[in-house]
Amino acid sequence: MFNTVFPYLLSGISVGGQYALIAIGYTMVYGILRLINFAHGDVFMVAGIIMVYMAASGVPLLVCIPLVLLLTSLIGFAIERIAYKPLRTAPRMSVMISAIGVSYTLQNLVLYITGGLNQIYPTIPFISGSVTIGPATTKVVTVVTPILTIVLVFALVQLINHTKVGMAMRAVSKDFETSQLMGININRVISTTFVIGSFLAGVGSMLYFTNYTTVIQTSGAMPGLKAFVAAVFGGIGSIPGAVVGAFIIGIAENIIKGLDIILFKAGLIAKPMGLATFSDAFTFALLIVILAVKPTGLFGEKTIDKV
């Protein structure tokens, strides 16, 4: 039993870590702007595409990695400045539509550049090799991801709790207008948030695409949505919540992918049910249940609406 479940559990933890890195971007932006940044999943995908093209143009990988992270952060910064900043006083629906527009634009831009073909992701030497843990053989990236995720999240939490920028971020997410009155440069805080979010999405994309090996213009949509669900599940605005939510969703999704085989080996079902189809649907079903039962998520703060 354990031998059957273990490989799925392992890849679940790995995918969970990758979702966590994307989910942080969602949750931080939502915490501050109250905006679902629909384009975040596409920033993640664009990071993958930049890596493909940069590696193909002969830049050594060790230079590629920091350069990709830098460019991804810049893209996040630019998106905020171009598409969200002009709408700061507009109704929330307009900003969300703008986010959807950015997502549409990024996907079409990548479609144009790649010609709509799957791009093979370059192999990053240290994390692409195989490793055997107990009964399972996987890529090194599977093991590296959760560790790297925890380290990055720890660093981020330190940044938010113990630096001046972090304090400003917390203030802005508590009360937008008052923090402005206190002399906080709102635009700088928001830009920083987008840069951090995109940076983490860039790291996430390296880990994710090392695992899945191909990038296409739609690759960002599904991980993006799932990461958002993870952020909602953990309580939007809460970073530990997003991470816990992402791990739970990653594991649940992979267990469902293997549910047929697991149930079959356990003797509970006689023949495969095709349940693997539901691995994506489960995430969204979970979202609807969470929203209906406990909209604040696992660690979210309760908000009170004043009339």
Binding site: S94, A281, A292
Partner: protein, 370 residues
């Protein structure tokens, strides 16, 4: 109030619409049916209906729903499942022994059923989802559309939905053409009928918007708490709006199935919902006329007018740079971003067709509304 309903502007707009229909009918008899014009009109009619149904939620009720593709999928599948001719079922459902549904419905009955099934799903999904706030509601309806897409592809449902294989060979728009005994087409109606169907549906929505119910929806959009204080029951009104919108999205889905001649669940993606949302935004959130206009513009640009951007163009020996497959969509997205950022009113704002013929109303007389 009832006496003053048909002022000259309304009559004039009715005439304009009638003339457009007549023009389409005449054009269809004269121009070869392979012309791009008809493709655009057919697809435009479909998108116009779906866009207006989405506008009913997003523009008039203030419910930001992103589930339109899911309801279209339900409509398209319902229509296709019940109209594939019995003789063809063995071919279509070749992996599932001809499927379980062994009867067919008339085309219009199947379309109606498509709407009703979509509305039923909306009723069920609305119970938990409509209590949510703006952006949570958006993401929950989006998730619902994704679930529907997966469920319809499930192998176990294959005898009904044909699994992940496509449904085909059902009646399409071309079957609306009148034929003589020899099977030759005598009167071309394949463009006019879809335009009529979508026109009738949109007219129903317009009547609904201008009724007491529609005014209640607008009150909800403006201020939920105030609307509730005025005695409008929020949950039942929202639920109703959601069902009506889904009903017409379902019919739109059935029309899309007829337009495409095949149905496959995997094509009803989130991107489709986004496209429709962008149509609504370009037309003006809260304007039915705007949604219709921008649907035809959107379809015409993407299928016809901007096609040249996808091919190499040589003007006087000079090859225009950048033009290759996909460039059309890039140009398109940039136009959309410009509209979203700088022309948030869209083409029409909240104005309707009759407003174009009226002189600017003085604010003092505006108490009656429309």
């Amino acid at each position: 109030m009832a006496k003053k309903k048909w002022d000259s502007a309304s009559v004039l707009s009715a005439l304009v619409i009638l003339c457009l229909y007549a023009a389409v009918f005449i054009a269809e008899q004269l121009i070869p049916p392979t012309s791009m014009l008809f493709t655009v009109l057919k697809k435009g009619a479909t998108y116009a209906l779906v866009a207006v149904s989405m506008n009913l939620l997003n523009g008039f009720t203030g419910i930001f729903s992103l589930g339109q593709a899911g309801f279209m999928l339900i409509g398209a599948y319902t229509y296709a499942i019940f109209t594939v001719p019995i003789a063809q079922r063995a071919i279509v459902y070749q992996y599932y022994n001809g499927g379980v549904v062994q009867f067919t419905l008339p085309v219009f009955a199947a379309m109606l059923l498509a709407g009703l099934v979509a509305a039923l799903f909306a009723l069920l999904i609305g119970l938990p989802v409509l209590r949510l706030k703006s952006d949570y509601l958006a993401i929950a309806t989006l998730g619902f559309a994704e679930i529907i897409r997966t469920v319809f592809q499930w192998d176990k449902l294959g005898p009904v939905t044909n699994g992940s294989n496509m449904l085909r060979l059902f009646p399409t728009f071309n079957d609306f053409n009148l034929r003589n005994a020899q099977g030759e087409i005598t009167v071309y109606l394949s463009t006019l009928v879809p335009l009529l169907i979508s026109g009738v549906c949109i007219a129903v929505i317009v009547l609904l918007i201008n009724s007491t119910f529609g005014r209640a929806l607008r009150a909800i959009k403006d201020d939920e708490i105030a609307a509730e204080a005025m005695g409008i029951r929020l949950s039942s009104h929202k639920q109703m709006a959601f069902c009506v919108s889904s009903f017409f999205a379902g019919i739109g889905g059935a029309m899309l199935a007829m337009y495409q001649t095949t149905v496959q669940a995997k094509s009803f993606t989130t991107a489709m919902t986004y496209e429709i949302l962008l149509i609504v935004v370009i037309g003006g959130i809260g304007s039915v006329t705007g949604s219709c206009l921008s649907s035809f513009l959107f379809v015409a640009c993407s299928e016809w007018w901007l096609r040249f951007l996808d091919q190499k163009q040589v003007i006087g020996g000079f090859e225009v740079p950048l033009l290759r497959n996909g460039f059309r969509l890039v140009v398109f997205s940039i136009i959309i971003m410009i509209v979203v950022l700088f022309f948030r009113q869209g083409i029409m704002g909240t104005r309707e067709l009759p407003d174009l013929f009226r002189k600017r109303r003085s604010p003092a007389k505006g108490g009656e509304g429309k």
